[in-house]
Amino acid sequence: MRMSHSALALVRGALTGHTGWPRTWDSPLPRDRYKVIVVGAGGHGLATAYYLGRNHGITDVAVLEKGWLGGGNTGRNTTIIRSNYLQDASSAIYEKSRALYEGLSQELNYNVMFSPRGVMMLAQTEHEVRGYLRTARANYLQGVETRFITPEEVQKRVPIIRLDGPRYPVLGALWQPRAGTARHDAVAWGYARACSAMGMHILENCEVTGVRSDAGRVSGVETTRGAIGCERLAIVVAGHSGRLAQMAGFRLPVESVTLQALVSEPVKPCMDVVVMANTVHGYLSQSDKGEMVIGGGADGFNNFTQRGSWHHIEETVRALVETFPMLSRLKMLRQWGGVVDMTGDRSPILSPTPLGGCYINCGWGTGGFKAIPGSGWAMAEMVANEAPGPLAAPFGLERFREGRFIDESVAAGVAH
């Protein structure tokens, strides 16, 4: 039973000591078998399950999570949402995603705090200026609203920025006005609540340890909570995709590395928009709570550590202080890492796999959060129809064999 969130419900809660709220999502016992099992209860996995139910009427679904819901990269990212990519295939899925974010709070009846305050990507070298002018034109043709703005407009929108940085002056920026951030945990919780309301099972602390198959087709998974049968399997586990693929008997062209971030103490509003400074390498936004949320780089070596390193603090903070000298007065509260799965062309993989009935969604690399709704939409379509739809089709595994790359190494933002 789901209680609708409304002003009336809130008043009722206040008058009854907030004791009447139901659980946001149920915690049922696993059944023996489901039509679809989604591995991974992060944003992408939950969105896949949600759109399976909403768009395709498939609700006999379990979402399996080895840890706690949203505890992987969904809880570790810097919450940026944008769709200013270069290639048509990318823009299509990222813009679909961004557009879905616009109405997500109302659709889920759960405030995910999508905040389209604008994202700017600073051009601090002549090469970046040319690159972003090209992106702006590509976006125009794709119907994605972006434009290249002058240093003066940058300064107006970001009062704390120093344009004449000693090494890398700000020469302009690629500006996407309807991009921004969302409350990352709320995205996972909102989808989970909606999935649970449709009768889907979200099984936390349920780690997949093996994939079962029968005559070349998936028949179920082995988990730390027992074997569970299924007709179709969706693997949506970001950094650990390689391990799941191994269980399913195939290999993936991805590398797993740790991407790091840090966050400051909360201060009163000083920066309203999201700024990415890719040349000095750091990106930041100010959360609604007032913290400066700062993204760093990816580790230069493959690992699964999920933790921060000394040199990333130093490099990222040094880079940002050069462009935002005021930030040196802030103390950093936390530093952390998330394991991201990188492909060679920095574009995701949404694909059928060599194992029948098994589909994989991975390779979002350093920028998966923004793609959650669109990724879930496209993945659900593929699992429901047992074939990729137009959004997913360009992102099949075969592109690595055929050399049909979707090169987004610039638009991906993070240096790898």
């Binding site: 405030n111 905040s115 000394w310």
Partner: protein
Amino acid sequence: MRVDGRGLIDRGRPVRFRFDGRDVTGYAGDTVASALVADGERLVGRSFKYHRPRGILTVGPEEPNALLEVLEPGGQVTPNTRATVQEVFDGLEVRSQNRWPSLRHDLMAVNDRFAAFLGAGFYYKTFMWPRRFWEGLYEPLIRRAAGLGRLSGKHDEAPYERAFAHADLLVIGAGPAGLMAALAAGRAGADVILAEADSRPGGRLLAEDEAVDGLPGPDWVAGVMAELRAMPNVRVMLRTTITGAYDGGQWGALERVGLHRAPAPDLPRECFWRITAPRAILAAGALERPVAFPDNDRPGVMLASAVRGYLHRFGAVAGRKVAVFGAHDDAHRTARDLVAAGVTVTAVIDPREDAPEGDGYRTRAGAVVIGTRGRLGLTGVRVREGSSEFWVEADVLAVAGGWNPSVHLTCHMGARPVWDADAVAFLPPGPDAPGAVPGLEAAASAWDGRAVVRVLAADPLEMKRTVAAALSVMRHGMALPRVWQI
């Protein structure tokens, strides 16, 4: 108010600074917090969301309430500075934050009236209708209300520094355990870095009335420090916080180089160190826990360890009538120390039925605190004893909720602390735990929060084992100092 004859401050050197535009006089050796305690100022901040009046809770870097803005002559501002860490100097100017128009009259405190509607997570359930209002109205209002201090709006031109250091052994914390570890390793010939976040070594020995080897704690510390300073292989780094444990025996350390004096153009404000040391001893001690009861956040409610710290280190007490609450012998230690200093203790409220009788104060055995009064400053404590409830007069309530060992660094590579029912605390993970920090040994004092100082005397062999383990790769033999007694 100040207590005559107590404290390690230099009463011959008064220091004048400003708090919210008002002149306050402290002494060399004071922090902003201790000077404000001595000055009788209890209200120093406002809570983040409900803007409830808040006072100083602790005597160290764990302070959650007394966060201030430090103002500099050129208009530069450092927000969220802990008053318990910021040392006073002539001309220092600090200002309360997150209040409007003033600390005493904060209109945002209206949030407290609507607390029932603003419960945890309420924002996920509301602010969705009509859709356009989220970005047009609700979110801008939320953003304006959030945050604590302010940035200045001016580019920071001050110098900062980074540096590197190497040692055989890093000792983290210069309390009694860390001092002994550094001494043992130093005498054995190891290259040692002793890092202490405080401006002064000694840890809890500065904050308690304890004797070591027949000497007052601070004198014993001075003796050990003199020997350490004379060793060319020992480097003492004060005002230096170890911030992180990283791969390859690397440690991040932040040194407050110029924050305790007037800004100077050539002096870096802070220095970020990368310390490389294959072995480290964690001697960061423990933090006292607060106790949960209604309205336990009023200005005047302080940790018992802080009340003793202000008394012994700074010769200051925050009030004239002090009540103490805790099911812990430290509650009674606090009362004894206050009585000895001539401060009135109105009651020690101890939930234990067999609580010790007070000497010079009244013990309320089997009683608990169930509420407080005094919005801008504590005036009384509501006590339930058996079936009766009554008010106890107090302008300070010291709470002793037991101790949490500072285990954080031992968890920086993924290991989890281990709950120990006997110690009633989370203890550091063992060296073989998955994700344990290689080479890091937790010293005895960080193990047992129940009596941070005494445990050393209880088990000096534990310290010997710890240092020996930490130095096991070294070529030198171990020559430990003689067993000491407290």
